[in-house]
């Protein structure tokens, strides 16, 4: 029934092997710095809904400059971020993570896939 229609998750049609062969690329809009603990801090542009943006502008609450959000990564997240260079594929990054932290390879693949998905949703990376 229309109002309760379930949202179907789009199927990429890729197998896991094909997905892991994709190389993540950092977005040019992301600003990177380092925390005192040696971890990565990311400054990400935040998308504002056009209706809210228009309202905020009219009320003089926003001057139109891009809003940013800061995210601090933990040690593993920082290691993955530093490995994102547009050359190494997700599978390579997972293997690197598994080797460095003595993780199970399959679990490292899941962790990397989940993390890259989160970064992708925030617009911090793309895949090629």
């Amino acid at each position: 029934m229309f109002p309760f229609k379930s949202k179907k998750v789009p199927d990429s049609g890729l197998t896991r092997r094909q997905t892991l062969a994709l190389a993540p690329v950092r977005s040019r809009d992301v600003l990177e710095s380092e925390t005192a603990a040696g971890c990565v801090r990311l400054s990400l542009p935040v998308a504002v809904r056009p209706a809210l943006a228009g309202l905020a502008r009219r009320l003089g609450l926003w001057d139109g400059r891009a809003l940013r959000k800061t995210v601090e990564l933990d040690a593993m997240g920082s290691a993955v971020w530093r490995a994102i260079d547009g050359v190494h594929c997700a599978g390579d990054i997972a293997a690197m993570l598994a080797g460095r932290y003595n993780l199970d390879p399959a679990e490292a693949e899941l962790a990397v896939a989940q993390f890259l998905r989160q970064l992708g949703r925030r617009g911090a990376i793309g895949m090629e």
């Binding site: 197998t15 896991r16 092997r17 040690a75 199970d104």
Partner: protein
């Protein structure tokens, strides 16, 4: 069961155990979905093998399981199983099934074990033309290794953790997320939680072992912790409402169970392994130490 890199390279079949079912699978297969009586494995190409089972379900359970596991209206009883599969399943009564959908096919069977009453459905996945010769051979080996008559409580050997449940405890829940795998087992009003965390060095760089243990078992970080060792590994014990009488006894009598937890640091495999028991009576520390010692890293 998650393969180690050595096993994946050598192609040695890996033993998997899940809630009463034991089998050996190719090293490249990985469990992707689990249920109380359900196991679904994939390889790099996608779905590989799926099995669903119920103890004491009887012959009627065989048909019910078939309906539950296969795409609605798509599966048809019938089809011909490869001889190698039939040989491997000689101990079962079986009803072959087959289905085809969106360029993918499944070939399997509903099974009934007349000896113990177990009903099950399994299927191997294949391309548009069904499972290829390699997949058929792999599945023959998997089906040949199928063991569900192991005496005693169920064993678990999956996601980097091996655990043999104490007598009387049955699986009540589980959770897997990258870095964490936990099992919950129940016996009456007692609940045993088993947890495996990784990587230990990252977790312990942020918090102490006691804090990680409290977070892992859902205890208040203010709960008193005592250091010690379990086997050769450093460990921490957390006790909540474990006094014999007084306020602890009153709280337990009023329905707030006590909890005793132990988490150990296996530095060699960079993992944290532990167990916690929630019970309406004070927990026997030696019993919990023995149960926690059964949590072994794979």
């Amino acid at each position: 069961m998650t393969p180690t890199s050595t096993d994946a390279v050598s192609g040695v079949p890996l033993p998997v155990a899940w809630n009463g079912l034991d089998l050996c699978v190719p090293a490249a297969w990985r469990p992707m979905r689990l249920g109380p009586g359900y196991l679904y494995l994939e390889d790099d190409r996608g779905p590989a093998f799926e099995v669903k089972w119920r103890r004491g379900a009887g012959r009627a359970g065989m048909k019910a399981a078939l309906r539950a596991l296969t795409p609605r209206g798509m599966a048809t009883a019938g089809g011909v199983l490869p001889d190698a599969w039939l040989a491997a399943l000689a101990d079962f009564e079986l009803m072959p099934l087959t289905w085809s959908r969106a360029g993918r096919t499944g070939l399997g069977a509903a099974l009934f074990c007349p000896e113990c009453g177990l009903a099950a459905v399994f299927q191997g996945y294949g391309g548009p033309d069904g499972p290829d010769a390699g997949r058929v051979a792999e599945l023959a080996a998997v089906l040949g290794s199928l063991d569900h008559h192991r005496p005693g409580p169920p064993a678990f050997r999956v996601f980097g953790l091996s655990f043999a449940a104490p007598p009387g405890f049955a699986l009540a829940g589980f959770h897997f997320a990258p870095g964490r795998f936990s099992l919950s087992l129940q016996q009456g009003r007692q609940r045993l939680d088993v947890v495996r965390l990784a990587p230990a060095d990252v977790l312990l760089a942020r918090d102490s072992l006691a804090t990680v243990a409290a977070l892992a078992f859902g205890l208040d970080p203010a709960v008193p912790a005592t250091g010690g060792s379990l086997g050769a590994a450093p460990a921490v014990w957390l006790a909540e409402r474990q006094g014999r009488g007084g306020l602890d006894g009153l709280a337990r009598a009023l329905g707030r169970p006590g909890r005793l937890a132990v988490l150990r640091h296996e530095a060699g495999v960079n993992k944290l392994l532990g167990a916690a028991l929630r019970a309406p009576k004070p927990v026997d520390r030696d019993w919990l130490a023995e149960a926690a010692a059964r949590c072994v890293s794979l």
